[in-house]
């Protein structure tokens, strides 16, 4: 099995025994990096779950302010982009370069679409003043949290010890979490889009073929992890509040 097939002039790096050796090493390296991504976002999810259990009223009312329609659209966008990314890799493996470029381009468009929907969501919230901590000025939201907490206290005896006065100050915490989590995720979507653009250009230049397509698969893995994180982020923030 010679390592360099005719069309793709690929030679494996000098310190590897063979192309397969380089491929499995690269794959393992990317998977290790995926673990660090999971752990980083995981830290955020852990903090979110802990605070959700500490200040349930704030998170319940907060999530009712989120627009589930926009969230669902974003989820559909990301899922299709994951699908087109997988096809992008598939056609690169099959060496059908034009189709691969089309699907990669669709993935980039989906990423931009995702950011567009996010832009509307953010501008709507900033307009309402629902922004983290220091700059928060939406007394109506605070009032809603207080009302919800008081009737929660009235309905069931289990929640007698909620300190309503403190809730007034804690209310902006929800949007602190919302903007940090979705903001960091959005930043990763942008990084993903740039990486896919870089890979599309390389595909156009014909660097890839059935023998060598590791960068495409690496970027694909990164994109799927970003999609995976959104799959967990969407229900936690929008639905389950």
């Amino acid at each position: 099995m010679n390592t360099a097939s005719k069309e793709s002039h690929f030679h494996h790096a000098h310190h590897f025994e063979s192309a397969a050796h380089q491929y499995s090493s690269a794959k393992q390296g990317v998977w290790l990096f995926m673990v660090t991504e999971i752990l980083m976002f995981g830290g955020l999810f852990v903090a979110y779950l802990i605070y959700k259990s500490l200040y349930a009223p704030v998170f319940h009312v907060g999530s009712s302010y989120l627009d589930v329609k926009m969230g669902t659209i974003n989820t559909f966008i990301l899922i299709t982009s994951s699908f087109t990314m997988a096809l992008g890799i598939y056609f690169n493996q099959k060496n059908e370069r034009s189709k691969a470029i089309i699907f990669l381009a669709i993935t980039i468009l989906c990423a931009l679409g995702f950011m567009l929907v996010k832009f509307f969501e953010y501008s709507h919230k900033i307009h309402l003043g629902l922004v983290p901590g220091k700059y928060f000025n939406n007394p109506e939201f605070v009032q809603k949290v207080v009302d919800f907490a008081t009737n929660m206290q009235a309905t069931s005896s289990a929640h007698q010890d909620i300190d309503i006065a403190a809730l007034k100050k804690i209310a902006p915490l929800y949007f602190g979490f919302y903007f940090v989590m979705t903001g960091l995720h959005g930043f990763h979507v942008i990084i993903g889009a740039c990486l896919i653009l870089w890979v599309t250009i390389k595909t156009a230049k014909g660097h890839f073929g059935p023998e060598y397509y590791t960068p495409v698969e690496g970027v694909g893995l990164f994109w799927h992890i970003v999609d995976l994180i959104w799959i967990y982020l969407f229900p936690l923030l929008y639905l389950v509040g």
Partner: protein
């Protein structure tokens, strides 16, 4: 480098010029670049340490600086030493230089990523030092909230600097894991790789799994300071104890990132200078992994009196006792290696003996601090300062200097003057004990740490401690002189000056830029002294 042109394809003279160094993907050159940068940061951190000790010479303000400056000195001494010297130290210098050679590979798995992590490390260091322009940081290297939230913006830069250096640490760890998995020489199974590779492998696993949580904690701290998000700010609902949980979830495994490679170096030094196969190879290798595994579930012993609940305190105390067992196993195995060996007390072996002496004291006092009953009295006093200096300076830095003198011939093709190195050991070892043993007593007497000014009853011991710090300073300067002298006028080194049996002693010194002309076949264990 005034170096004769006998064979130009060794890695130092293979290419000439600064640009060839700055764009090299040769793991050996990257190791040397890390060495130069980290020695420079060690010098700065050391100067801050001497200034702190000078200030503490006598009760009132001694150097005429105000508490604010002292707090900044204390914070930068901690941050530089932790994030820029000890955490990256041994893995990036000796790990980068030696692991590929010890595995018979031509380079690490991802050479370009290796160079990229050096630049990310430099970027992180620059950002961290930029905090001096914005009012510096006086929060201590632990950045405890809510104090760090209320401080000037210098803290944001130091935090982002630490985040970026954490990124470099992840990439280095990732590189080493794949290298150890995929690029071992033919016939070299996991039970035939040197113990230095085993401990750096365990360190790499901790680096990859612990640093991301530090990343998110520091990002949340920056979000807290800029947007007032409120996760760690008690006035708007946050919980400062939760910050401590997140911070120490990284920082305790980080202290094992610091000490495990040092243990790897000590295994190598003791094996070579006792000319005896290491006693209990599997036990030492497995202990590295066991320490790595258990280090993730013990972080609560930093928070026994921080408002953490009693049940959590009990739980963390019992598991911290578990971590003591593999460390004790390693110490016993090293001493058993010396039994019936033929021990030559060269300078590197002296540093290994120094490590054993100081690390034993550090380890034992660690058990005291893990005991619930004692920690309530000793927490945040000078007892803790003495404990972690015994383990970090006595452990990691002694091993680092010993490793530097041991592999100096292999790295630069010249041998350091053994006499000067021994003088530096004597100065460092005695100076260290004179500095930090009185601090155990100060801690028992109840002197709190991070104090700019203290009660007169603590003055005499602090004066002894300051004198000791001058000795350490002198010792490390002599070591630096020995290294520079060795570089310029050290006598030529043979391929195997100390009689080691691990693979790097098969290569020429300094090694060929591809490490070996022909990849070696390994058929026996790494320490075969028959």
């Amino acid at each position: 480098m005034a170096h004769t042109e006998t064979h130009s394809h060794d890695y130092l003279n293979h290419q000439k010029g600064l640009w060839s160094w700055l764009t090299t993907i040769d793991h050996k050159r990257i190791g040397i670049m890390y060495l130069i940068v980290i020695l420079f940061f060690f010098l700065i951190g050391g100067i801050f340490a001497l200034l702190i000790r000078m200030e503490l010479f006598s009760a009132g303000p001694t150097l005429g600086i105000d508490p604010g400056t002292y707090n900044r000195l204390m914070t930068f001494h901690g941050a530089i030493m932790v994030f820029m010297v000890i955490v990256p130290g041994i893995p990036s210098i000796f790990g980068n230089f030696l692991i590929p050679i010890m595995l018979g590979a031509k380079d690490v798995a991802f050479p370009r990523l290796n160079l990229f992590s050096w630049y990310v490390f430099m970027l992180g260091a620059i950002i961290a030092f930029a905090s001096l322009l914005f009012g510096g940081a006086d929060t201590g290297w632990t950045f405890y909230t809510p104090y760090s939230i209320r401080q000037p913006n210098g803290v944001i830069f130091l935090v982002l600097g630490a985040f970026t250096m954490g990124m470099a640490s992840i990439l280095t760890g990732l590189n080493f894991i794949v290298t150890v998995h995929k690029l071992r020489a033919p016939g070299q199974t996991m039970s035939r790789i040197p113990l230095f590779v085993w401990s750096t492998y365990a360190t790499a696993i901790i680096q990859v799994l612990a640093t991301p949580v530090l990343g998110i904690t520091l990002l949340l701290l920056v979000a807290e300071k800029t947007l007032g998000v409120g996760i760690f700010d008690p006035t708007i609902g946050g919980d400062p104890v939760l910050f401590q949980h997140f911070f120490w979830f990284y920082s305790h495994p980080a202290v094992y990132i610091m000490v495990l490679p040092a243990m790897g170096i000590i295994s190598e030094l003791i094996a070579t200078y006792s000319r005896k196969t290491v006693f209990g190879y599997t036990a030492i290798a497995y202990s590295s992994l066991a320490i790595g595994a258990v280090s993730f579930i013990v972080w609560g012993h930093h928070m026994f009196v921080s408002g953490q609940s009693e049940f959590a305190g009990i739980m963390f105390s019992v598991i911290t006792m578990l971590v003591g067992v593999p460390t004790a196993i390693k110490l016993f195995n090293w001493i058993a290696t010396m039994y019936m060996g033929s021990i030559k007390l060269d300078a590197p072996m002296l540093f290994a003996i120094g490590f054993m002496f100081l690390f034993t004291i550090g380890g034992l006092t660690g058990v005291w601090l893990a005991t619930l009953g004692m920690d309530v009295h000793f927490h945040d006093t000078y007892f803790v300062v003495a404990h972690f200096h015994y383990v970090m300076v006595g452990g990691t830095l002694m091993a680092f200097t010993g490793g530097l003198f041991y592999w100096f011939p292999k790295m630069f093709g010249r041998v350091c003057n053994d006499g000067t190195a021994r003088i530096s050991w004597v100065l460092i070892f005695t100076g260290f004990n004179v500095t930090f043993f009185p601090q155990f007593i100060l801690g028992a007497m109840g002197m709190p740490r991070r104090y700019f000014d203290y009660l007169p009853q603590y003055e005499s011991l602090n004066q002894i401690s300051t004198v000791g710090s001058w000795l350490i300073g002198a010792g490390f300067l002599v070591a630096l002189f020995a290294v520079i002298h060795g570089l310029l006028r050290g006598e030529k080194a043979s391929n195997n000056p100390w009689g080691g049996t691990t693979l790097e002693w098969l290569a020429t010194s300094p090694p060929h830029h591809e490490n070996f002309e022909k990849t070696p076949i390994v058929s026996v264990g790494p320490y075969e002294y028959r």
